[in-house]
Symmetry: none
Subunit: 207 residues, 4 copies
DNA sequence: CTATAAGCGAGACGGTACGTCCCGTCTTAGA
DNA sequence: TCTAAGACGGGACGTACCGTCTCGCTTATAG
């Protein structure tokens, strides 16, 4: 999925119809996303409210509601770029290294930056609002899973992984624990954890 | 961990001191828990509010706040029993079967009953309120992890599992994906999933 | 007062300067007034908003604000014609008949047509916005009072009315109750009321 | 009508049912009415908003909406007392003096105090909201008309006024012009005006 | 017979206020 | 003395219009 595709719904292709009279103000768009990110960094997801974003961005509330359905959508867009642009798709020829790069980066982003609080908040909101859940899966999860699939398939093709591997199951086994630690915070979430997870899954735990 | 310990903070030991002028009304206690469970079943976690619980239970709001810190605590207590009483600690002599029993039951409870919505809602709330997070880990996670630890240790002792196994890591690898599916709902959560997960982790994914 | 004078502020004299590159579109002008009148008829003064007028007239909001200061001005212009064109200046030789014609017609227009709701709404708005108040007195009240003054003066000249009559006071005594009933709606507003009012004022209420 | 009757809807008879658990806070009640009156005095009716009242009174908005339907109702209650407590019911034996007292006081209150702006604003709002109109007639108009009726009837009984007098019509003729001047503000509203009005109506305007 | 300066439709924008919901605390009458 | 009922201060929600603004198209003189 091309990263530009992510905004199709809220920011329709501009070149297609030049006759829109007054188009979306890019200045606002950015001000809002920036305000949302700042608030998140300062006060965490709970400290973000549509009114706070509007006031921080120097914008009317209606301008936010004109383009986004709720604060979750704003936060989602504010972090989609950060989370997905950094998405590496390494190809070192070794599946363990590739997965380590990818999941290590995910663990670090979630564990040490404000993106962790942002995405945890979004998952929280998704439990209440199915539309947020849908959008979250689409924007935050789908492309990561697709990338992981590519990596694993290459591993299979190279004969590193079992040919009968269930890709979805393997991805759940790799990503699940990372999100689990993000949400439960029972133990730290860092690169080492990701690496150890991969090692363990590849080798198996049987004696 | 003694199960009674779980309520120490919110439900001070009633038997301990008979000299309280008037002690907690068991009728209220039950009515509130029942009301919470009913509302959860009917409207999901989002449809539960302290006011709704109070009105449904025929109880003043204050009576709820006297004994619990917030609605999350109520829901937690309402489901702790259900989730933890069913906690099996099988000992069939085969670690794969034992884990399958335990995680299969977890997957089924989370995937098909209202407990799924309840616990997902609690995790959501935990993202905002650290106290809820703490209590959730204590009441909902800790004893399960302890049980899993016992199972895995037996497997090691019997020579079924690698002796250098990192128990915490293995438990994350087993439970993480289940909670991940509960919260993301990208694919169904059932016994088969749990079994497949265990199989995959035990055997590893290397060719 | 020449009726054309009434629009001087909002509708600058078109004939005066032919050198404007592009002059006011008469089509728009009419469409806006018509839309305002329709909305008023359908939903009353409260249902009229600048946005509703614009959308109904198929016109941009700016086109309205280019020519009028606020919705009150639009409504005022839409009804000034109707209210003032019908302004009779009868001269039957009998002041009671003359007043009866004039005030009877006023009572009927206010009491039974949408002009009642329109003018009531305008007075309402005038309480908040002094500019509307000013314009309202100028467009809706002044010419009517002038006409009444003429009628009464003729009555004095003919010896029908007391020569020391305070014209302004008499006009207030005649018109006040009509507007009062329009705004309070405690009793119906019709021709009979106007006639009775005149009779009573002329004869006095002393035994 | 007993003045206490006026609050029946918003302030139900307390003695009737002693079983209300927590009753309306009189402190709030007063704080809100005071805040409303202050705001009105400072900024006029247009400067009053429910949010401003709430913030000035140090009260949640909901506390206002719990007891009143809209800001008009609050303002109405805030001024009902002032307007109606001052309602004189003189009995000097001379109907002209009695009416002069009563209408003079009305003219002065409306013309020189903030009650004028308040009542004008209420009439304005009544044009949009029929419920306000209804309440306004009931609280602000009815008792005044009743009092005037009493005065006039005494005049008839004493032989000062025509025995066939239409009381409602006479009251409209007396009060209408006063409200008319309040709302149009084309000429000042003072005691002299009220007196002159009465004189003119009593004597009639015929030569 | 252009060219150019409005007028125009569309509607985004910063604001203000609305009326609603629920939170967690506080108050009160009565069991 | 504790409970139910529910009022309270507070804060965010999402909506409706306000009056201003910007855009790209259209149109009617003025040069």
């Amino acid at each position: 999925m091309a990263p530009d595709d992510l905004y199709n719904e809220t920011q329709p292709d501009v070149s297609q119809k030049a006759a829109d009279c007054r188009r979306r103000s890019e200045r606002c768009h950015q001000a809002i996303l920036t305000a949302a990110a700042e608030l998140l960094e300062e006060k965490g997801y709970g400290g973000v409210s549509v009114e706070a974003i509007a006031s921080r961005a120097g914008v009317g509330k209606q301008t936010i509601y004109r383009w986004w359905a709720c604060k979750a959508s704003v936060v989602m867009e504010a972090y989609a770029k950060q989370v997905n642009q950094n998405l590496p798709l390494p190809d070192t020829g070794c599946v363990k290294t590739d997965l380590g790069d990818m999941l290590g980066q995910l663990a670090v982003v979630l564990g040490t930056t404000s993106a962790g609080s942002a995405l945890a908040g979004l998952i929280a909101e998704a439990q209440t609002d199915p539309h947020v859940a849908q959008e979250f899966r689409h924007q935050m999860i789908a492309c990561r899973r697709a990338a992981a699939q590519t990596l694993l398939q290459r591993g299979i093709d190279r004969g590193e992984l079992r040919p009968d591997l269930d890709l979805d199951l393997a991805i759940d086994a790799l990503c699940g624990p990372i999100w689990y630690r993000l949400l439960l915070r029972h133990t730290p979430l860092d690169r080492e954890f990701a690496i150890a997870l991969i090692d363990q899954l590849m080798a198996g735990i049987t004696a």
